[in-house]
């Protein structure tokens, strides 16, 4: 297993090289010149030229790429053109927010998705099944930004029971330890802040997790239906195992492999695809920030974020593969099978 993990981690290198070339070329070739954006309406041509020179943008593309890679290897991703803050600082000020939202969304999606899917499968063709699948259909077809606004209007604007956006009340925010507010508030023993963070997470998690929930519910239903037909389920029932146990221990567990794959993929896309949710809920994450930086041609930041998301994506997939082995002991990543 360890060997397998090391091998997978080594495979990160070619992936990252590929990603870095793609993002580098796309930004340099298709983005407008950052100089006028950074320097503002009073900039002269000479000022813009001098600025490009200082920031190494007058050098040939391959030299610029080489400098960028040199920076990546030494851990220096440069400074944001627009705010002059180090890229790593800008990213780490926002990445925990994105992860916190993605994790809570995927928890919401997995919990409800699996429950809805399992009930639909067990009570196939019943009212529960139809209701579950209609919910899933609505989930996949509703645009996130629209759902977000509707949730805000209902729960915040009309019922006044949930906040309309933001990550926490500014004056209740916990002291920063890890950057994850839920963890930080527990570490500092600040329960009021913990509750406040939780409340702020509800609407954005529902909005963001709705699509994934629908996908997971459908996948669980079909996977469960297939498993429930298997011989070992009949055997278990014949042995007198209670129905609940049959469903939980025998059917669901065996149906989980494809579901976990879907959850892993969904989680990866939540990390990079939370742009709309972040904008609607004023969530201070990396998605909306990156879009803003793309519009401002802030090359160092965009390159940094894309590399980081690529690394995270690969690692999540690795974790998913490792989880397979725990779910199904027959799967072993050993030399013999490879």
């Amino acid at each position: 297993m360890l060997k397998y993990i090391i091998k997978r981690l080594l495979m990160l290198i070619p992936v990252l090289i590929g990603v870095s070339i793609i993002v580098f070329v796309i930004m340099r070739v298709f983005s407008p010149d950052p100089a006028p954006i950074v320097l503002g309406q009073h900039a002269t041509v000479e000022m813009a030229n001098a600025w490009r020179e200082v920031n190494g943008l007058n050098a040939p593309l391959h030299i610029q790429y080489f400098n960028f890679i040199k920076g990546v290897i030494t851990g220096d991703l440069g400074h944001s053109y627009y705010t002059k803050t180090p890229v790593l600082e800008e990213i780490f000020a926002r990445f925990p927010a994105t992860i916190e939202l993605a994790v809570s969304s995927i928890l919401f999606a997995s919990l409800f998705g699996i429950i809805i899917g399992a009930i639909s499968a067990v009570k196939k063709n019943s009212v529960f099944d139809s209701a579950g699948m209609v919910t899933a259909l609505i989930g996949v077809s509703m645009p996130i930004f629209w759902l977000g606004i509707i949730l805000i209007i209902i729960f915040s604007g009309t019922l006044h029971i949930l906040p309309s956006g933001g990550r926490a009340d500014p004056l209740l925010q916990p002291a920063t330890v890890t950057g994850f507010f839920l963890i930080d508030s527990l570490l500092t023993g600040n329960l009021q802040s913990f509750a406040d963070t939780l409340v702020h997470l509800i609407l954005p998690s529902c909005a963001l997790g709705m699509y994934s929930m629908a996908i997971i519910a459908r996948m669980t239903r079909s996977s469960m239906l297939e498993t429930l037909e298997q011989d070992y389920i009949r055997t278990a029932r014949a042995k007198g195992v209670t129905e609940g146990r049959v469903i939980r221990r025998h059917a669901l567990r065996n149906a989980l492999i494809p579901i976990v794959t879907v959850i892993g993929l969904q989680f990866g896309s939540l990390l990079g695809g939370a742009v709309l949710t972040e904008t609607v809920f004023s969530w201070p994450g990396i998605g909306a920030y990156t879009v803003n930086c793309i519009l401002k041609s802030d090359f160092p930041v965009v390159q940094g974020v894309v590399m980081l998301v690529a690394i995270t994506f690969v690692i999540i997939n690795l974790i998913v593969d490792v989880i397979y082995a725990f779910l199904d002991p027959r799967i072993k990543y050993s030399k013999k099978e490879a």
Binding site: A48, P163, F281
Partner: protein, 519 residues
Amino acid sequence: MNTVKRVFCVVLATVLLCLTFTACGSRQQSPTQASTDTLIFAQGAEPRGLDPALVDDGESSKVIVNIYEGLLKYAKDSTKLEPCLAESWDVSKDGLTYTFHLRKGVKFHDGTDFNAEAVKFNIERQMKGKATQDMSYADFVYGYVTKVEAVDEYTVVITLKDVCTPFLYNLAMSIAAPMVSPKALQDNNNNVNEHPVGTGPYKFVRWDKDQAVVLVRNDDYWGEKAKTKNVIFKIIKDNSARVVALNNGEVDMIDGIDATVVDQITKAGNVVDQPDGMNINYMAYNTTSPIFSKPENRKAFSQAINVPELVKSLYQGYASPADSILPSFVPGFAKDVKQVAYDPEAAKAALAKAGITSVHMITYSNPRPYNTATGQALAEAVQGYLSKVGVTCNIEVFDWTTYKQKIKAGDYDICFYGWTGDNGDPDNFMALLSDKDPTMNVARYDNPQYNELIAKGKATPEGPERDDIYAQLEKIQADQNPWLLVSHSKLLSAYSPKVQGYYYHVTGNVFLSGMSKNK
């Protein structure tokens, strides 16, 4: 699952649910919102930074004016100049030397003294040679300065290379002009974007990226202390979410709204504020084109368009028709100047006589601060009026970046443009029509008499004589019609009725120190 595990899960779930519902229940009165000690202003984008020399955007400047101060400041409801960190100033007869007498006993938030050396440090940091390329306003504000001397602890003498009365107005701007603690600049590698230290009524506490900037009252402030202890600038990017946050009582004030949400805001019992903005929205005739090189043709076109009606229908009351280039609160504004009156019959006759049947128009596709309805909507409205007098318009629409290139190329009869003022000086608006750069002077207007008056205005000290020069310039514009003036767009913001003393300055800044909040 064994019993212990099961019990643990149930307990955990119950605790989480209880916490959530407790917090939900108290939502309407969260500690921050309920407190009269905290004012929350929600804006639509994150500040670029909090170092006045390194930013150029309105979102930064809203926060900056509460932390920093400059030598001069604007009056509450106009851009007239008032003393601030400089108690008084003298200008030499030749207009080249400015002597500022500084306020005594002022300290920066880090405890260091505000004095002549600090002023010298701040200006020299942005002068040619020392300024970095990304100090976008350094040249605009301090480009004329050749020397700064600290004569004694509280007297600064600034020498200019040429006479420039707008220089005083530059010193009241919220960008480049505010004074930063020299110690903070030295400690932070000449960049206090994230460590702002000024002399203003509020001190910086922290900046949670993409969430909020938190400030606290400066209890050692030299002037009247701020009425409310805490101030939070919250970043809410989505326009509808910002409106819900105000109506829900989560924030006290918002800006960046448009006419479509005004009803929603007032129905919830909140107040909409709409002063005229420091801007002008206009249509320019290309005075180098065969048609519009003749002033009589420009006049005939202007007569064909009913500006008040157009402004009313296009901006629904959130812009006022412009009778002069200068907004009414800018010094030099001339009340009695009137633009060409609507007279379609006269226009029709004149255009028929001149044999003009079609014109080539270019415009922009996006909304601009001075024209929220987009250049395209404005061009189409004008097209409608012109068709009534027998002129067809070929409109070409471009995105803003391409549009500016088209303007530079100059292949048009009519184009649409506008201007947002920088420093509240009349020269900042009026000099556009004498600028050599065709992307600034889009009418490509070149009138020696006008240019001469502009030079004179720049060199004449503040006062009635100078105001008269700008009145003359406005009259020339109204007679010669290089532009058809359309509107001054209003600055829309909204606030909760609990907020006392609300005001949104004409420069688009909010000064929170005079505001308070009722229970």
